[in-house]
Structure formats: structure tokens, C-alpha cells
Amino acid sequence: MAIDLGTANTLVYVKGRGIVLNEPSVVAIANVRGKKQVLAVGDEAKLMLGRTPGNIQAIRPLRDGVIADFEVAEEMIKHFIRKVHNRRSFASPQVIICVPSGSTAVERRAIQESAEAAGARRVFLIEEPMAAAIGAGLPVTEPTGSMVVDIGGGTTEVAVLSLGGIVYSRSVRVGGDKMDEAIIGYIRRNHNLLVGEGSAERIKKEIGSACPPEDGEGRVMEIKGRDLMNGVPKELIISERQIAESLAEPVSQIIEAVKVALEHTAPELAADIVDKGIVLTGGGALLSNLDFVLRHATGLPVSIADDPLSCVALGTGRALEEMKTLRNVLISMY
């Protein structure tokens, strides 16, 4: 079983069956007479996010790509494993979980321990950019440099890979969440309207763009929230240009990370990358015009991977399928 434990979504890949589960990393916990009980996990829990009464908490146990709430994360992993694991086989599953390349040893250990406590037989970790590159189909084991930019919910991983290893990697804690926050902040500042995280995410997906349209306001969208001036619910229309403006900050951070990574790349690898370019994976790659902005900023060919949302899960799954040949890319904290 391969798990892409993402900040926003968790994907589970089962050997021989492919990706069998793709649900938001959200857990709803109910407080029943002082005892905490898991109420819902995944899609169901995500609907509760921001709409819970006092006795229910909808928690996202991962922040910035790492576990922020151990107990809840453990419950979530346990739930997902139970959901996809074949009950008829007695053996507990062997699990590969991906971790951000910039995570500390403590964070990695925490993830490994959580997975073990959740009922995994053996737990291996794989670094996210490696999984993303494998999932995107890059020739990571060849003696040629490949650059992958994985823009996830919590982190953006920029890595140069060659010969089955990470030559250089850089992890910045900017991702989909930061973009949502930027949108919320922008709307609050400029329109005195407070929107929720869910609404901000929807705006990003529908009219989000990395650069403003060449002319005009671009696509427009109705947004609903609470007016900060008089405190009543309000609806207003926001344009692609405005959202692009609000996203300028996180996008520029991603570009900066890519540039820094390129600066640290050895000349031979840089030569390979000039030819083949950068591959974008992760949900952030779906932000329209991000490839254009990156291409403009770096002068390199930028391509978006096929099915960027599941690249990491597919790559982790492939590591599971080809465990023997890819044993070297797996990490165990013990």
C-alpha cells in the first residue's frame, strides 16, 4: 500500500489495483461526553470543515506537508488503511508514505510511527519529489538531470534528480493553502469581505491564474462571504485579474524557489535541464498560466505532467511495485 499523505488530499495506491482512494485529509472529531470520537474522515469530513457546532471539530491533521496533530493523523491513516485493505488477508500491509524532502528527521519519524501505530507491518518513506518524478514518468534513474516542481497543498518541492537520487532539493512551505490564504487576504483587504477557506479554494480552481490576462478582467465569478463593515452576508463579483493579483505573492515564491534550485544545479545537470526543461506536478500545476510564468521566468521549457494530481501517489505506488529495484529511494527511520 502506498500512501500520498498530502496536506490537502490523501491518495492510496494498492499494489495491482492502482489508486483506490482519493479523499481530502480532513477528520471530523466529535466530543461525546468528554471523549473524542472520530465522526467522519475524508469527503464527509471536508463538508463539515468550517461548519461545525461546538462539539464537533473538523481538523486537517497535516499542515505544511507534515503532521501537525499526531493523534488525528493516526486515526486518519488507520481509517484509510482499513478502508482499502483486503480484510481476507491476515497480514497487515506494507506501507510506503511520502514525506516532503525538507521535512526534519523528527517529522519523518512522526509520520512513520503514526503509520506503524495505524496497523502497518513495515513502513518506508519516500521523498515527495522523487515520488512525483517517478509518477510523472521522468527517467530518474538515468545519468541525466531531471527537474521536477511538485506544488502540493502545503509545500512546493523543487528537486533535481539523477541516477535515482536527489541531487538538489528545496522545499518551500508555499502551496495551495498559501494561495487560498492569499485570496482570502486580498478579498478582505480590497472588498472588506471575509470568505472561508473552501470558498477561496473554489475561486482558485475556477478563475485562479498565475498571471493576469493580457487584456480586460478575464473570467469572473460570484463569491459569497461576510461583510466585515456591517457583518452581514454579502455577495460580490471578482475577476480573474484580481485573483491573479492576489496570487502574485505565492507564485513569485515558487518561482524564486525554482530559480534558487537552478542556481545550485551543477553545470552538466543544468545542460540536461535546458534541453528537457521542468516538469510541473501536484495540484498547483493546474493553476492556469503557471507554466507560462515559469517558462518566462526561467527561460526553460516547462511542461505539466500527465495527471499532475496523482503523480506522487503513482510514483509511490511504482516504488511499491518495483520495491526490489527501487529499494534505494526508500527511507526507513529505524
Partner: protein, 410 residues
């Protein structure tokens, strides 16, 4: 943009409808047609997309082998299609159909360090285990062969041969040796279940003559066994060998063991036998005890045999049974080894103070000792001068009476 795309799709559909048998348009053809339609220059496209012109040409010509890899081809196609306003999803599906089976996702082979020794580690382990087993086996065989040399048993002395009851009684037994019937009686006594139990009283009849004085008689034991055990007034204690050697007779194989030169089957034997008589009388453990008795007596130091052995008043006596001209006596802990001319080992042991070794009359007998000051050699009862200092190692010291005589006179 969408208008253009629709128009383009119509065009393709029209073309397909018009010429259903015409070869299918390849992805490269679609892209090239569209580019020419828009009037874009390949170099211009390469500049905008930052994709090398050579790669774009390869895409248009369908030479996918010249491109870096499937992941990149997909990315380039998507970028190119987006630039030209073609539906990239459609185009990618078409590309996948076209290249199904030709272009595959990158094979992943991690470089594995070549092991410096060519032998695989598994085979190496097996070889090591086999080698260890062979070495151990060899050592075991070698050491056990050594041990068998130590256990080498000389031929049964003629004097004792008749005691085994093998019929080899041609040589007349010495005067002080128990007559065979007596021994037989002893045996019967030891094993009351034997049918010849009735012989025991007969055997006891001559025995009182041999009894010199008050002897502790085994209380519950047989009357015959006790006299026999104590009927060893002679210094050599040869009669004692009677019970010692006779008792194992039922066991058969232990006879040689009892008569081996290193086993002190002399005067202490009766002492050991006497207390064991009650045991011997018990039918259930008779065989086992008699079996063990000679072995035990061999190891047990003699402490209560006053005056029976003039040479060794105290301590164990090894070597020849019976008087010997040459006796090696230990005054200190000393290791001795005695071999004859053929290299046969006669003794190899540590003598404690008081222990002695009676050298058999064998040609070329020589002594090796680790403590020359701790052994005294006596010839015909007379002590010879010391072999050397304490702790000195002496090798190949002759134990022939003649040689010793020569040395003394010299």
C-alpha cells in the same frame, strides 16, 4: 479561440469523412498543419515555448525516439497544442493511441554498485559454512584418532589371560592368584541370579587359608566375595586383579579395559570392591555396578591399603601390574610420558606425589617428563640420582634396566 478550435475540428472531421480510407493524420501532421495555418514559424514557436527547434521538428515528423522521454513528449505536445489553440487533451489521447506499444514510460533501473569480489555473498556464506564444517570435522577426526592412540590397549598379559575364562590357561597361574573356580564363584556371587550360585560355598572353602588377619567383611555381602577381596596379602596385589578383572567378565568387553596398563588394577582394587560388595549382591544393579567398578577403581587413589604395595606406600600405581625392576616415583607433581621403541604410548599422565609408574619390560622404553626434579627412578628398589632440576624437561630418558645400570655405574 474556441471558434477556431471548432473550425479546426470540423475540418478534421470533414477530411476524415471525405477520405475514410486515407491514412490517419498523425499528431505531427495535425500540429504542422495548424501551425502553417496560423502562419507561425518553427523558430518562433521554439522561442516562445523554449523548446528546442530540433525537438519540435521531431514531434512534427513523428520521430519520438529523438525526444528525451515520454514524460517530456507529453509535456511538449501539451505546450505546443495550447499555443496553437488545439485541444491538448484530444491531441494527447491521439498521441497515446499512435504510440501505444512504442513509447513506454521510463524504465527504472537503479545503478547497483558492483561488488568487488565476484563471488555472490550468498555463495560466499555457504562456502564459509561448508569450510567451517570440514575444518571442524577434520579436527574432530584428528583429535579422536589421538585419543584412540591413548586408549590403545596392549595384549592381555598371559598371567591374566586365563582369568577371562577364554580357555587360554596354558601358562600356569602364579601361586597367589586365585584359582579360576574361585573367580567364577566370585562372579556368581556378584550375580546371584546366575545358575551357578551354588558354587559360592565351594569357593569360600579355600579362601580362609589365605586370610591373614582380621578383615572387614562386607556385612550384607557374600561370604565369598569378602575373603576374595581381602585375600591379597601379597605385595603386588595380584589376587586383587582377580575380582577386578573377573567381575566385568559377564559384561565381556570390559576385560581389556580393566587390564590396560594405565589402569591401576592393583592393590586398591580390593578396597574398592569390598565396600561395593553389598551393591554387587543386589541383583538389579549387579551388571551395571560391576561394569563401572573397574573404571572407578582406576581413578580412585588408594588410601587404605597399608603395606600391600611396597613400592608405592601411598598414591596410585600405574604401569605394569606386578613387580617391576624399574619404577618411576613422583615426589612432586610431574607429567610423564612413556613410549617404547615402536612409539607405542604406555603412559601419559600427571603423577601426583606418591604416585608411581612401573615400567614394563619392553625394548626401547623411554621416559619424557616435564619436571625432572619431581620424579625419582628406582632400579631394583634402589633410587637412582635425580634426573635433573625441578621444572626441567627431560626427553628420551631410557627406562631399560640395563641402560639405567650403565648410567649408574658410569
Amino acid at each position: 479561440m474556441t471558434e477556431r478550435r471548432d473550425r479546426y475540428r470540423d475540418m478534421i472531421d470533414a477530411g476524415r469523412a471525405a477520405e475514410p480510407q486515407a491514412p490517419r493524420q498523425t499528431v505531427g501532421d495535425i500540429l504542422r498543419m495548424r501551425r502553417e495555418e496560423l502562419g507561425y514559424d518553427l523558430t518562433g514557436v521554439a522561442n516562445v515555448l523554449r523548446i528546442r527547434r530540433a525537438y519540435l521538428e521531431a514531434i512534427e515528423d513523428g520521430r519520438y525516439g529523438d525526444l528525451p522521454g515520454q514524460a517530456y513528449i507529453l509535456g511538449f505536445l501539451r505546450s505546443y497544442a495550447d499555443l496553437l489553440g488545439i485541444d491538448s487533451g484530444d491531441l494527447l489521447n491521439r498521441f497515446k493511441d499512435e504510440t501505444a506499444g512504442h513509447v513506454r514510460p521510463a524504465e527504472l533501473y537503479l545503478p547497483i554498485p558492483v561488488s568487488e569480489n565476484r563471488v555472490p555473498s550468498g555463495a560466499l556464506m555457504v562456502a564459509a559454512v561448508v569450510l567451517a564444517a570440514v575444518l571442524y570435522g577434520g579436527w574432530y577426526l584428528y583429535s579422536s584418532a589421538d585419543r584412540s592412540a591413548l586408549d590403545l590397549v596392549p595384549k592381555l598379559p598371559e598371567r591374566l589371560a586365563h582369568l577371562t575364562g577364554s580357555g587360554d590357561t596354558s601358562s600356569p597361574p602364579p601361586a597367589n592368584v586365585l584359582p579360576a573356580p574361585a573367580v567364577q564363584a566370585l562372579l556368581n556371587q556378584a550375580q546371584p541370579t546366575a545358575p551357578e550360585v551354588g558354587a559360592a560355598p565351594d569357593a569360600t572353602a579355600p579362601m580362609p587359608d589365605a586370610m591373614p588377619g582380621p578383615v572387614p567383611v562386607a556385612p550384607a555381602g557374600s561370604p565369598a566375595a569378602a575373603p576374595a577381596a581381602t585375600g591379597a596379602p601379597t605385595p603386588t596385589g595380584t589376587p586383587a586383579t582377580g575380582p577386578a578383572t573377573a567381575t566385568p567378565a559377564p559384561a565381556g568387553k570390559t576385560v581389556p579395559a580393566a587390564t590396560q596398563p594405565t589402569a591401576p588394577v592393583t592393590s586398591e582394587a580390593p578396597d574398592d570392591e569390598a565396600p561395593q560388595m553389598p551393591d554387587l549382591g543386589q541383583p538389579k544393579s549387579a551388571a551395571a555396578d560391576t561394569d563401572a567398578a573397574p573404571a572407578d577403581t582406576g581413578m580412585r587413589p588408594d588410601t587404605t591399603a597399608p603395606g600391600t604395595a611396597p613400592v608405592a606406600t601411598k598414591g596410585r600405581v600405574f604401569g605394569q601390574t606386578g613387580p617391576a625392576r624399574v619404577v618411576v616415583r613422583a615426589t612432586d607433581e610431574s607429567w610423564i610420558q612413556v613410549r617404547d621403541a615402536k612409539g607405542t604410548l604406555w603412559a601419559s599422565r600427571v603423577l601426583h606425589p606418591g604416585d608411581s609408574f612401573r615400567a614394563p619390560d619392553v625394548p626401547g622404553l623411554s621416559l619424557e617428563t616435564g619436571n625432572a626434579g619431581g620424579v625419582v627412578i628406582s632400579l631394583d628398589g634402589k633410587d637412582l640420582p635425580a634426573l635433573g632440576a625441578k621444572g626441567q624437561v627431560v626427553r628420551s630418558y631410557p627406562l631399560q634396566p640395563d641402560d639405567l645400570q650403565a648410567r649408574v655405574t658410569h
